[in-house]
Symmetry: C2
Subunit: 448 residues, 2 copies
């Protein structure tokens, strides 16, 4: 239980922010909330919070300020634009926690602008979060905190109350926390899209979807996202757990990060286009599990209908195994893409492994294979060519059905590229060689 005296200003009371802010109230902090959506303020008041009608009023006298608005642009606006901006009233030496997910360059940009305005005293912390609304509300979010030591120390009491044991202190200064989130979202984004690709394939194959989900969940192709999202498709459920537009924004940050680092991110790019197709089909504001509609445009509720199929399904059913092979192949390539990007932007690979393997970006393949990249002991049950054979099986069946396997198709080309470059007989994790630059291999690396 934290001390109850210092005021916390909390800006951005959306699905995540509302839970985070009310959790702080439960921990006896006096919290003043701000949001542009007025009904939320009423709910927040009912939950025991104070409310403010402008950012400026919200931050008045608060030694702690948390930003949890949707975008970096919204922070810039609330902080700097016009007479109601927060900057006019920021307390001397205030601890400013930037929890929104933005592009890597935005946090240093905000600090720069504060300094320009003579507010070098503000203690900025780059503190993006992950974990979903439930963990937001019970104070166990993963938080990736970075910044000057003094700033991180000042924010720690509040960050601890939001993260519990899931507070990660990321070295590298402002932007490093955002980089961690970015790399994490490579996996989150690909796995969300792959969940739809896989369950759409289940639907196209006409398999009993509930049983298929249970079996796939237990297999090597599973991911945290797959386990988390698929249940939304198996029952009639219009709840928006996480709107498609959120992962659209996040994967946009990933691909922009790839572009600014001149680093190819094939699966992230494929994911971005699938997600854009989802928005184009009118799915931006609904739960991201509905992305399956892009894969089954003529029958988007196929999974729901197949959930009640009474037919038995064996774990070694050949069609089901095709879905699993597609998932495993994509998740292995995704793990490689993410860990190579982590290395490229200078993040510590071991820390990234620890963060991701217990977070929403985890997959069975990631947890199993990523340690091999760190240790350099590339002993794996399969070769690159073995994965090619498995993905090929899945793709040939999908071709026969005229079902699009966007991600599995891209993953296959990546493994083919590795094979063509001479790594066909090497362990499957040699796929990371694709991202080696002229300066030598990215992996193995124990730490950066």
């Amino acid at each position: 239980m934290a001390s109850s005296s210092p005021k916390i200003a909390f800006l951005g009371l959306g699905a995540m922010g509302f839970g985070m802010a009310t959790n702080l109230i439960k921990l006896s902090h006096p919290v003043t909330g701000f949001d542009v959506w007025k009904p939320t303020l009423e709910r927040f008041s009912a939950a025991g919070g104070s409310t403010a009608t402008t950012p400026r009023e919200c931050v008045r006298d608060a030694p702690y300020v948390v930003f949890m608005v949707a975008t970096a642009a919204q922070i810039m606006s609330a902080l700097f634009e016009g007479p109601d901006a927060a900057v006019h009233e920021l307390k001397e030496g205030v601890s400013l926690m930037l929890c929104s997910t933005g592009p890597p360059e935005y946090v240093p940009l905000i600090q720069g602008k504060l300094k320009e305005l003579g507010r070098g005293d503000v203690l900025v912390v780059d503190a993006p979060v992950s974990g979903g609304t439930i963990r937001a509300a019970n104070g166990t979010l993963s938080i990736f905190a970075a910044g000057e030591e003094k700033a991180v120390e000042a924010a720690k009491p509040i960050l601890n109350d939001m993260a519990g044991s899931n507070l990660w202190l990321i070295p590298g200064g402002l932007g490093a926390g955002t980089n961690v989130k970015m790399v994490h979202q490579v996996l989150a984004g690909i796995h969300i899209a792959m969940t739809s690709e896989a369950m759409g394939f289940v639907g196209k194959l006409g398999l009993p979807s509930k049983k298929a989900f249970e079996l796939l969940k237990a297999g090597e192709g599973s991911s945290w996202m797959f386990e988390n999202r698929t249940p939304h498709l198996l029952v009639e459920d219009k709840t928006i757990y996480s709107a498609l537009n959120i992962i659209v924004k996040d994967i946009g940050i990933v691909t922009a990060g790839g572009r600014s680092a001149h680093f190819p991110l094939f699966l992230s790019s494929t994911t971005e286009q699938i997600l854009a197709s989802g928005v184009g089909a009118g799915l931006g504001l609904v739960d991201d599990a509905n992305l399956v509609g892009v894969y089954l445009p003529q029958d988007p509720t196929a999974i729901l209908k197949l959930a009640s199929l009474p037919e038995p399904l064996a774990a070694d059913n050949a069609e089901l195994r095709l879905v699993e092979k597609a998932m495993a192949g994509v998740h292995l390539a995704a793990a490689a893409e993410a860990m190579c990007l982590a290395a490229k932007v200078g993040l510590d690979a071991k820390t990234m492994f620890e963060i991701i393997s217990t977070a929403a970006g985890a997959s069975k393949m990631f947890v199993k294979k990523a340690p091999l990249w760190l240790s350099g002991e590339w002993k794996s049950g399969k070769t690159v060519d073995d994965v090619i054979a498995e993905l090929t099986e899945a793709i040939e069946e999908a071709n026969r059905l005229k079902y699009p396997l966007h991600l599995a198709g891209t993953a296959l080309q990546l493994f083919e590229l590795a094979s063509m470059k001479g790594q066909g007989k090497e362990p499957d994790v040699a796929i990371v060689r694709i991202w080696d630059g002229p300066n030598g291999p990215l992996y193995p690396r124990e730490s950066s």
Copy 2:
């Protein structure tokens, strides 16, 4: 004008086959047609042809047999299966022209099966065609003929009557003609999909589509397919010039060829998934220009509506230029993918350049850039990093609009890969380096 005496058996009177067969009639050949679709036989009869009700009856006494059915499986069936199969009545020393597009291995397979059955006397020619229904009907199709010299010589009079000056004699034996067609279809397929991606982008940007088409057609991003298909979108036209399912089948042959050669074909794979999405959206049997519906699912007739916009549009309009940059970047990468596959399967690069640059697989970028690969004089106005910058501009605007650029997204990753490997400052055509194997560079090569 050919001699009128020897009978030609023509199996497969679809959109292409009907034109080819009636053209032969016009050239005074006696032609007996067969098709499973009875109304076609009546039309064929009215056009001056004889008709047969079984393959066996069709080929009786014919020294020339042309197969122009839709798939290799249909040839196998008509030639070998059951009591009505053609094989029972093939004339001694018959010239058998296989003009359908099938996978590279199918032609040698057919010859093998004929030999097994004691019909080593049949003169098999691998003779896939390209050029569309108009050129089919006026005898100017591109035909890629390969096989034993004796077989090709025997077929030549008929092939000449179908191809005019567009008959290509491909060295390499049976399968080489099919390989040429396969490589050609890499470009045909990508350009068909890119036509939809580009015109969908025009629609999303809300540009006057007719004027945009005219300007894009004149620019460096144009392709034969773009010029040929786009007009179908600018007027109300339900004609099926080429059903989507045809290019779906052809690109399936391309990606299967890539898999059997263990050769990565990123853009072909992306195209395959886009096309599968089109089939999944119910577009398999309509003209392939309708693929734009996959890009604009909520407004598939946007292009038609925008065609009548009276607004002027400057050639240097910034939004239009984004579309052109996306097209040019994709077409350059597609040209590289096709020419590298050609080299990989042992085709002569110079011949491939000559064939493609005058055929339906041509693009402005192909015609401009492919000669540089042959000559090795890689002087180009742009670097790899320049193309990255152009594709990035297009993709960032598409991201903003949540419009999917499947092909441009994939192309960008390919250029990023080249840049990451150290080729960023090299001429843009250095993109081919991606496909170099451990045995050294694929290009430059004057001839294979």
